[in-house]
Amino acid sequence: MVIIGENIHVIAQAISTALRERDAKVIQDLAKAQAEAGAGYIDLNVGPMKKDPEETMQWLVNAVQEATDLPLSIDTLNPVAMEAGLKACKRKPLLNSASGKSLSKEQMLPLAQKYNCDVVISVMTDKGMPPDVESKVDSIMSTVDHANGLGIPNEDIWVDPILLPIGTAGEGQRFTVLNLEFIKILEDVLPGVKSTVGLSNTSNGVPDQLRPPLNRTYLVMLERNRLYSAIADPLDKELMNLTRGGMPEIVELIYKTMDGENIDLSSLSQKEIEYVKTAKVLMGETLYSDAWLES
């Protein structure tokens, strides 16, 4: 599992200030910490970048490359900033992200071809978010076909099914379930493509202290269905430990829950019980509420 470190994110106040004041140290420290924790890529999420997109992105990429040798994921919707970022990268970068929307096909996908980089392509289209597995497959096949036409091979494409928060309008659970299914069949419908997810989106809106269990459990479940990578927090030690084979009993338990095996909770520790309960809500087996660990 390739973890794309999500922590350099403009929504974080410290990062936004550091970008504005060109304070490289704050950003470099965070890049180093993520690299040491086992990240495979460092994501640079700079948002829409209305001011000085080229110069800012260039500065940021260079600052991070001074701190780590890891490849970078350039995460912006601004095509000018995107190009500046890709140009400045020493190693083959990840363009994060393109989609099936017309504007993205015109502005982003050609950049992936031009700079010969890897590219995240989401299932979004001009029609919005495809509501079920079948329409997700249809839309990604059409966008990947378009990308192939531009000369981008499947091997460079990282498909993003788009995760929605589990509490979304009472039907977020339907999406956690169908995204599991989508990831499971992806390699069969598009041989050679990779996959990625914005993992923490699953727990968006959930009380802060309850987010890690959802993120960790879901990652194990997605990994079992052959997920290739995730944009996630590498500083979450338990999360990294789970994906690095450090907690085989927990992983086993999550798999058993996915298989619908009857699990005797009375023989389990508190932590194990929490993983089982969390897997059950992510499977859509029990109705989600913020009190899912308590009931």
């Binding site: 977020g172 109705l287 009190a291 009931s295």
Partner: protein, 301 residues
């Protein structure tokens, strides 16, 4: 080949809740089938019940065709409640609207005295709702619960913001709780989980918010249907409670219901029928003629 109709049998059973005591009591819930699925295996031992609404002050914004059936009793909640009993209601729903800080901000003590008088005057069970202002209800509902100690009423709305203080008072004085959450099944379950930690689950009724026809009824319908399905089919303990559809007030707020009597009765009637099909166990109505209309419809007269 001979055709055999598929018959479903479910494992979930909605908890049966008793409101009131002795002869002045009724039961709701207890079913292990989906609403009106009498062709499946299982039963609903307690057919749907109807309450008529009484306010603790003279209504300010009711159209004349709604006040007309109660015109002599509107200033006296006790008489008004008795009138509802005469008109065939299974229960009286008393709304303490005057306690709302935005209305009269009347005192919790006064509301408690009034609630007790109404409860004692009628021979059918009583449901009492505060104004819905969660802070004021946290003062008013415990006093009401204390004044009506041991009467086993249904009292609400118990909300996320005040469930601890209101829930404990209801428990101490022997009442049922009506747990209200804003049209979201995840929040609904969360409230039931939290309340159930100290309050018996078999004394909780779900109020999932009942919007009127044309004003979001389809959301209420889908949610209620889902609550019932998750309870009966997937046996989720925290949604296996009977449901109250508090729809009268929502319907009579609408411009359409206020315009003419026929339109008002149909507005309230169609909303009621729809929510009944979605799985409501007790419905709160305002107009006695709607009550008659719905009863006739269900009994296929």
């Amino acid at each position: 080949m001979e055709y055999k109709a598929p018959v479903e049998a479910y494992t979930g059973v909605v908890r049966e809740v008793t409101i009131g005591k002795g002869k002045k009591s009724l039961k709701i819930g207890g079913e292990n089938i989906l609403p009106f699925h009498f062709f499946d295996q299982g039963s609903n031992p307690n057919p749907v019940k109807f309450a008529l609404e009484v306010l603790d002050m003279e209504p300010q914004d009711w159209p004349e065709h709604l006040t007309q059936p109660f015109k002599d009793v509107l200033t006296d909640p006790v008489k008004w409640a008795k009138k509802c009993e005469e008109l065939g209601a299974d229960a009286v729903f008393l709304r303490l609207v005057s306690t709302d800080p935005a209305v009269k901000d009347s005192s919790a003590d006064g509301a408690a005295v009034m609630a007790k008088k109404v409860a004692e005057a009628i021979n059918i069970p009583l449901i009492i709702y505060g104004s819905g202002d969660d802070k004021k209800d946290a003062e008013v509902l415990p006093k009401v619960a204390e004044a009506c100690d041991g009467m086993n009423l249904l009292i609400g709305p118990v909300q996320k913001e005040n469930y601890e203080i209101v829930g404990r008072a209801l428990l101490e004085h022997g009442h049922n709780a009506s747990a209200l959450s804003p049209l979201d099944i995840n929040l609904l379950k969360e409230l039931n989980v939290k309340l159930s930690k100290f309050f018996p689950s078999d004394r909780i009724v779900i109020d999932s918010l009942s919007s009127a026809l044309g004003y979001g009824m389809e959301y209420s319908f889908s949610l209620m249907e889902r609550v019932k399905q998750i309870g009966v089919i997937t046996k989720d303990s925290m949604t296996m409670m009977p449901i109250i559809a508090n729809l009268g007030a929502e319907c009579w707020k609408t411009k359409q219901a206020k315009e003419t009597k026929e339109q008002g009765l149909l507005w309230e009637g169609l909303t009621a029928l729809s929510l009944l099909l979605a799985g409501a166990n007790i419905l709160v109505l305002r107009h006695p003629e709607t009550l008659k209309l719905i009863k006739e419809t269900i009994e296929a007269r």
